[in-house]
Symmetry: C2
């Protein structure tokens, strides 16, 4: 094939974004050949968006079987991601899944097992991974420039969401509709980047606040503390109810410190490692010589089409994926662990007790109340 | 009296600092008229420091009774602070106590009660309070410019201390000698400022790491999470084993955000409060208009003599104290709560169970091992 024929399942806020850049030809090796949304009331608007030439399906399987598409972007509400991704793979369709990979790790583990035995390309829409800022942090860590990691801290509080945002969809910010709040909807990027950069912790103690300053049933503020196998510690702080928010990632290593904030990366490099300095220093006060180093970072870019282009190249040429689909379980594990720690008011060791998590989630789903709402599609441009 | 005659109890690292600026006349309304150190081996060096005219005592009470001093700075190891402060007050001597106020709140509560019934001026050496950066943060909070506080975060990891620092005194970083590590020795300033700015929490969950990257028995890395009566949350992160460290305080309120870092204060002010915006906004995505505002802050200064000058003015003219002595219990309560939460591996409600804290501390004191060491006086210039 010369280019990859894409379908999209779910033309809501984010599905509309994918539709637009594919129609605009932002991914030369891809084209949009079908879309699907299970809400017929939206079909007229979708028709306006995609024009007369592209079929609009109500049923995902019909589109997957149509022969019109080679690949699909799954952009439905979170709960359906694993099921629809597996359905696509079953039909031999390359699958690019929106974040989060799912709502609870048990279903995502099943999806990952399924993917390992299928012959399609499976990717996750982690469009912050190709962002040159985080690529460079990854580079500093993987190359040893930062030294062994000792501490990480992410304050990600610039996911501001007003009550009217939550009211825009009855399913939004409900246990039944989303299975969580800021951890499931806004933070999957940061949770993925966090584990991609510093690895997975061995245990987590988290403090979720539910419906803080908002009339919603799920968490919209979280503080989490994590401990890693090498003794490193980490903190993750997030909220949707604060303005102006902060997005500041700090990682301290044996050889220095890196901070990403306000779209800039700053790197402080020790002339000798802290361990070496501490071993030789005999003068009481005093600390390792430290240089703030200016290092080149490409212009910031975290557009979705970068992931879609990489995914198309993986299909066509076997290019390695920036964000393999099976990686999606890691950030979700952190998210589930943070819920579980709060619900149990205790430590959670990783890997988490998936059955217990699901059982406690189901208790909440059972009493979950769909908000009365307008169910409108919002303009999500620039919101991720 | 025209000026205040000061004595100093304990001429170690910090006592030497006080001695020097008093001898140098940095506090016009104060002069040094006696010093005391209970280690006779140090007297020759102290004599070199203070000259022939100023008596050097071995016994605190003898100096307090000598008639040579009106006020005293208590600069001994922490455990002795309350006892010596009370001894001074008993002799009618105005008392300026070094931080921390003590090691456990039970002894500090006793000292505060004693001070309330004495007729002397009682101050704490919290020399970061007059720092114009924190004065301005306090101003922004007290005047309502920041709005109701929602979240605070202090990363204070620039208290780098090498193993050789810890080895410089056998009592250092032992349960018996200091009763704790970074929380007792380095952080009292930040713990005091934190509570001075955002108030005291209702409960704390903390994670202390003991002897991390250092051969010491006490904590030298701490992550603490705090919850406040109004629903606000806070995080405090500290370590002595990281270079280059960070000193970043962020406070988010209903009307904006303030950040103090690298000697600069930045203030973002919302045009309308988050609460008001959220109540009126109907468009889904979108957030309150925010202005970054440049506000005047005087040049940074956190020298000890500023507190000593204020204290002398309180003695001579009744000038209000910048740091009343009875305030010392607040930061210490946070410190004790962080230890206790770690030891119990559980939440600690405030006020803490003082008897339980003391009993668990005593268990540690009982097995505490004094380090073999040089017991030397370090040059502490610029270390606070």
């Amino acid at each position: 094939m010369e280019n990859v024929r894409f379908g999209i399942i779910g033309v809501g806020n984010i599905g509309t974004v994918h539709t637009r850049y594919l129609l605009a030809g932002k991914v030369p090796e891809a084209r949009l050949t079908a879309v699907c949304d299970n809400n017929p009331a939206k079909h007229e608007a979708i028709r306006q968006l995609v024009g007369e030439q592209i079929p609009v399906y109500s049923d995902a399987e019909s589109m997957l079987k149509s022969g019109l598409i080679d690949a699909v972007i799954v952009a439905t509400p979170h709960y359906a991601h694993p099921e629809l991704s597996m359905l696509a793979m079953r039909h031999g369709i390359h699958t690019l899944c929106e974040k989060p990979a799912g709502v609870y790790t048990a279903q995502v583990r099943e999806m990952n097992e399924f993917a390992r035995h299928s012959n399609v390309v499976f990717g996750m829409m982690f469009n912050q991974r190709p962002n040159p800022l985080y690529q460079k942090v990854k580079d500093l860590i993987d190359s040893g420039e930062l030294g062994e990691i000792r501490r990480s801290n992410w304050i990600i509080t610039n996911w501001y969401r007003s009550q009217s945002y939550y009211n825009s969809g009855g399913w939004r910010a409900t246990w039944k509709g989303e299975g969580g709040g800021v951890l499931l909807n806004q933070d999957p990027h940061q949770l993925d980047l966090w584990q991609w950069l510093v690895g997975m912790p061995v245990r987590v103690r988290a403090f979720c606040q539910f419906g803080k300053h908002r009339q919603i049933e799920v968490e919209n503020e979280v503080t989490a503390y994590a401990e890693y196998a090498n003794g490193a510690t980490g903190v993750f702080i997030t909220t949707t109810a604060e303005a102006p928010g902060t997005n500041r990632l700090e990682i301290a290593g044996d050889r220095g410190k890196v901070v990403v904030e306000e779209g800039k990366l700053r790197f402080w490099r020790l002339r000798e490692s802290e361990t070496e300095f501490n071993a030789r220093w005999q003068n009481g006060f005093g600390e390792p010589e430290c240089w703030e180093v200016t290092i080149p970072v490409a212009a910031e870019c975290s557009e979705h089409y970068v992931i879609t282009a990489n995914f198309a190249a993986a299909v066509l040429h076997g290019t390695p994926l920036i964000a393999p689909g099976t990686d999606g379980i890691n950030g979700l594990t952190l998210s589930n662990a943070m819920h579980l720690s709060t619900w149990l008011d205790d430590w959670v060791d990783l890997p988490i007790d998936e059955a217990r998590y699901l059982s406690l989630l189901q208790e909440r789903i059972a009493t979950s109340v769909e908000k009365t709402s307008e169910n409108r599609t919002l303009d999500a441009s620039g919101s991720w």
